[in-house]
C-alpha cells in the first residue's frame, strides 16, 4: 500500500473529506486529530501494514510524514 492510499484510508476512518490529510501537514493543524484518531491509526497500521504502533511512538511525531514513517518500509512512496 502506498503512503497516499494509507492517508485516504485514515481519512475514511476519521470521517473527514478525502485530501484533508497530507504528508507535509502538522498533526496539530488537523482539528480532528485527537486520541480517538490515534486509536484509528493504530488499528489501520495493524490491519493494512501489519505493524503494531504504540501510543508513545505516535506522541513522538509531529507531522503525518513522521506518523507514516512509523510503518517503515511497509508503505511504498508511490
Amino acid at each position: 500500500m502506498t503512503r497516499e492510499a494509507f492517508l485516504r484510508e485514515l481519512e475514511g476512518q476519521m470521517e473527514i473529506p478525502p485530501g484533508s490529510l497530507s504528508e507535509s501537514r502538522a498533526l496539530a493543524d488537523v482539528a480532528e486529530w485527537d486520541s480517538l484518531a490515534a486509536v484509528l491509526f493504530i488499528a489501520l497500521a495493524d490491519e493494512k501494514a501489519g505493524v503494531t504502533v504504540s501510543g508513545k511512538q505516535i506522541a513522538s511525531t509531529k507531522t503525518f510524514d513522521e506518523l507514516l514513517s512509523l510503518l517503515g518500509d511497509r508503505l511504498s512512496a508511490s
Binding site: 485527537d34 486520541s35 480517538l36 493504530i42 495493524d46 503494531t52 504504540s54
Partner: protein, 336 residues
C-alpha cells in the same frame, strides 16, 4: 471433583445514560457518531447512594431465586470489584452477612477489572478441584461511573455499571472449565488508572481539573485511560493469549463454538475478530445496552448469548478477559 458453571444472573442499575444525553454535553459528537465509535447506545449508571455491592446483592439474590441456590450451601464467596464499599473490611465479608451465607463460608475480594471474570473462574475451579469448596459464588460488580469525570468523554462514553453472579459447583463429570492462560504486565499500570485515592497518593480535595490535548478533562481522583496504549496492548496480547490457550488445550480454533471476549468497545472487538479470523456467527458482541461493564462484561455476554440461543449445552466456549493492570486471562468452558 470438577468445577462447572451452573448458572449466571446479573443486575443493572435503573438510570440510563444514552447517546442523546452525551451528545447534548459534548459539542460535535452526534448520537450516531458516539454509537458508531463505541457500539454503545445506553449505559446503566448507579444511583449516588448505590454501591457495586448493592448491585451484587441483587444479582446474587436473583441467582438464589432462579438457579435455585440455597444460601446455606455456599462455602466460598469470591468478590471481584475495583469499587469496594470501604478500604477495609473486605466487601465480601459484608456481602456474606447481607446474603445470609453461612459463617463457615470463606470470603474474599480480589481487585481486578476486565480480566477479573477469568481469574474468578480460575480461583473457583482451584478451590473446587482441590476439595476446599463444593459451591462457590463468584460475584463481579463495579460502578466505574463513580470514577469517571463528566468532562472526560473518552471513558464516559464507554463504561457502564453492573453486577453478575455466577454459581460454580462441583460435579462428578469430566473437566468442564480450563485450561487457563494468565498474563500480567504492570508496565502498563499507568495507562488505565485512578491515580489518587489509595495510599500512594491519597484523594485530593478540590483537585484541579486538567484538560488533555483531546479536550477531555479529569482530576487525579478520576479514571484515566490512555486509549492508544490500551489498544496497542490488546493487539499485542489478545491474539497471543488465544493461540497459547488453543495450544495448551490442544484444541483447533475451528473446534471452538463461541468466542466471548471482554466487551471493551465494538471497534476493538471487530478489529480483534477480523485479526483472529473468527466468523461473526461465533463471536459475541453484547454491549449495546450496557456499555463496557468491566469484570461483568463476560458473564453478561454469556447471558446474552444464552438468551439468543447462541450458546447451547455442550458448546465449547473460549472466554478472554484483558485490560487494567495490564492483566489478562483466557480459558475454555464446555457449557454444561
Amino acid at each position: 471433583m470438577k468445577a462447572f458453571v451452573a448458572a449466571i444472573e446479573s443486575a443493572l442499575p435503573d438510570a440510563l445514560l444514552d447517546n442523546e444525553q452525551l451528545s447534548s454535553e459534548y459539542e460535535g459528537w452526534s448520537p450516531d457518531k458516539i454509537y458508531e465509535k463505541t457500539g454503545i447506545r445506553t449505559r446503566r449508571i448507579a444511583a449516588p447512594d448505590q454501591c457495586a455491592s448493592d448491585l451484587a446483592v441483587c444479582a446474587a439474590q436473583a441467582l438464589m431465586r432462579r438457579a435455585p441456590l440455597d444460601p446455606s450451601s455456599v462455602d466460598f464467596l469470591l468478590y471481584c470489584t475495583q469499587t469496594p464499599d470501604y478500604i477495609l473490611p473486605t466487601t465480601a465479608c459484608v456481602l456474606q452477612h447481607r446474603l445470609g451465607l453461612p459463617t463457615s463460608c470463606g470470603a474474599l475480594d480480589f481487585n481486578l477489572g476486565c480480566s477479573g471474570y477469568v481469574y474468578g473462574l480460575g480461583l473457583a475451579k482451584a478451590l473446587i478441584d482441590s476439595g476446599q469448596a463444593r459451591t462457590v459464588l463468584l460475584i463481579t460488580a463495579d460502578t466505574y461511573s463513580k470514577l469517571v469525570n463528566p468532562a472526560d468523554k473518552s471513558v464516559r462514553t464507554l463504561f457502564g455499571d453492573a453486577a453478575a453472579a455466577t454459581l460454580v459447583v462441583a460435579s462428578e463429570r469430566e473437566t468442564l472449565i480450563g485450561p487457563f492462560v494468565y498474563g500480567t504486565d504492570g508496565a502498563g499500570a499507568e495507562n488505565l488508572m485512578v491515580p489518587a485515592g489509595g495510599m500512594r497518593q491519597p484523594a485530593v480535595a478540590h483537585a484541579e481539573l486538567i484538560a488533555d490535548d483531546s479536550g477531555n478533562a479529569r482530576t487525579v481522583n478520576d479514571l484515566f485511560m490512555n486509549g492508544a496504549e490500551v489498544f496497542n496492548f490488546t493487539l499485542r496480547m489478545v491474539p497471543k493469549a488465544v493461540e497459547q490457550l488453543l495450544a495448551k488445550a490442544n484444541v483447533e480454533r475451528e473446534a471452538v463454538d463461541l468466542f466471548v471476549f471482554h466487551q471493551a468497545n465494538r471497534f476493538m472487538l471487530d478489529h480483534l475478530r477480523r485479526k483472529l479470523r473468527i466468523p461473526e456467527s461465533k463471536f459475541v458482541i453484547a454491549m449495546e445496552d450496557v456499555g463496557n461493564t468491566v469484570s461483568c462484561s463476560i458473564p453478561l455476554a454469556l447471558q446474552h448469548a444464552l438468551e439468543r440461543g447462541q450458546l447451547a449445552s455442550g458448546a465449547l466456549v473460549m472466554i478472554v478477559g484483558f485490560g487494567v493492570g495490564y492483566s489478562w486471562g483466557a480459558t475454555l468452558m464446555r457449557w454444561a
